[in-house]
Amino acid sequence: MSGRLVVVGELADGRPTRLTTEVATLGRRVAEDLGRPAVGILVGPDAAAAAETLAGFLPEVVAVDVPELVDLAPAPRVAAEVATLVVPEDGPILVGASPDGRDVAGALAVLLDRAVLANAVDVEVGPEGPTTVTPIFGGKSIVRSRFVGRPGIITVRPSSVDAAPAPAAGRIVGRAPAAASGGPTVRRLERVVEASGEIPLEEAPVVVVGGRGVGGPEGFALLQELAALLGGTVGATRAAVDAGWIPYARQIGQTGKVVRPRLYLGLGVSGAIQHKVGMQTAETIVAVNRDPDAPLSEYADLYVVGDLFEVGRALVAELRGRREGGGG
């Protein structure tokens, strides 16, 4: 049997994450180009139920129910189970580049002794096999890399691929856990939910982002209002996070989240390189800044020179007016 392309899924609240469906969509296409079958693997407390969703994206999904993962940090055990299911002919192995996905990929690299190509936004297939496409140095260069010898592990950056289900649902294969253990145990004592119901930053179609120019936590109320009117959520720069105006979970950039919304609207954001890394692939970038020469003026699609509060309030009025007038 020739090897399979493997997609390692990730579960959140009993469902495959959006990133997992993105990676599955990419994996399906790459497998076709390589002429290999694609298989998804889900390991977790509700793997069998979640496999129903993932089977909408892949021709085959192997589900390994591990109930005790509820109380453990999942990655080591997920990697250990995946390692028992992967045979030497299999590859490449695609994993989402989320925090858990990176942990799984790192552990798998050691367990399977495979090389890693990290942070791909696309995978092309040529005569030499799969080639990853990865922006480096904050998008200044696009690097194409491939494996020497057998294909290894590829981590896929969130929001790089539009998730699209397969024309027909795949089959689900249940498997009993086979790994002895996931190495040393890390117990989860507690899960603290701070912001339930908020759209995850990476999944929002519109992100309204505030920087140092917002001036304080009160200033973010205007951004919340704009986000609500535009059907999106609020993000921030490190300057705003460091000032304590908004939680770290909302930070976009090198040490925060990577987003690719349809619309990025930045207010009082300079657009420093470490911020750009996290948002440069937004489809449309609009900025309001009183400095005509901030770095964002070089890569925004629309750059408004002005005071963010004045323009922001006027934009709230304008959007409300359009809504009430039935226009827009």
């Binding site: 990290a118 998008g139 690097v143 770290y248 827009g328």
Partner: protein, 263 residues
């Protein structure tokens, strides 16, 4: 507590000069090297832990021979010593090589706690902490926003950032923790720290010094290769608006409507 902090010298992202050279490896002459940003958060966390619990901090880097200048900054912040593994054969190492070398060096250091940044600003892979933990069979507590060791009880608790909140994780020591910015801003080296750093030890080790490794390592056995480096596709031209607020707002709304971005 003995804490080892993994520190990688990276081209300074703020220089704007970070790039790959003609050999498609990081052009180290083009941009000054700095400590990787997330490693500085890890070091700051280590310094605070030692202030609270006592102990000592060793920096560990696998890097080119020029790295001592960069490591000196970590020593000036307050680390006690540094170990630099450097060898011409290691240039161009892939991730499994890097992990094998760091694991071998870590075995000699007998740490209670190993801290690493969650990822690096040049590679951005973020898989080394988990790979190292797996190799050394250490518990991995990743994406940390707070670290609370209990050395007497031989365990550590970590607040791990997850979507919409955090998990409280617990593991026995020794353990490996990957660190985020949420741990708190790194301190600036004091003048006293800078002076003290001059006499702190940076032990330089070659591959031979590490002894036999479980796998071949280095650029010659790398299993990944760069095949092309290109500039990014250009974005469209920027349209600049300078107008009174109401007019500017109307322009934004029309621009968004034309791109079908209004709900």
């Amino acid at each position: 507590m003995r804490i080892v902090v993994l520190t990688k010298p990276v081209p300074d992202p703020a220089s704007g000069q970070d790039r790959l050279g003609p050999d498609w490896r990081v052009d180290r002459a083009a941009a000054p090297a700095v400590l990787n940003g997330n490693d500085e958060y890890a070091l700051e966390a280590a310094l605070r832990l030692v202030e609270a619990h006592g102990g000592e901090i060793t920096l560990l880097a696998m890097a080119p021979p020029s790295a001592p200048e960069t490591l000196r900054k970590g020593l000036a912040m307050g680390a006690d010593r540094a170990v630099l593994v450097t060898d011409p054969a290691l240039a161009g190492s892939d991730i499994p090589s890097t992990v094998a070398v760091l694991a071998a060096a870590l075995r000699d250091l007998e740490a209670d706690l190993v801290l690493a940044g969650i990822d690096t600003s040049d590679g951005f892979a973020g898989v080394v902490p988990a790979a190292l933990a797996t190799t050394l069979r250490l518990p991995l507590l990743s994406n940390a926003a707070a670290i609370e060791p209990d050395p007497a009880a031989g365990r550590v608790r970590v607040r791990r950032i997850v979507q919409g909140g955090y998990d409280v994780l617990e593991a026995p020591l020794p353990a490996l923790v990957s660190c985020t910015q949420a741990l708190g801003a790194p301190r600036y080296p004091s003048l006293k720290g800078i002076m003290a750093a001059r006499s702190k030890e940076i032990a330089v080790r070659s591959l031979a010094d590490l002894g036999p490794l479980p796998r071949p390592v280095g650029g010659a056995v790398a299993e990944t290769v760069v095949v092309a480096v290109d500039p990014p596709p250009p974005r469209g031209a920027t349209r600049t608006v300078r107008a009174p607020a109401a007019e500017a707002a109307r322009e934004i709304a029309e621009f968004l409507a034309a791109r079908r971005l209004l709900p």
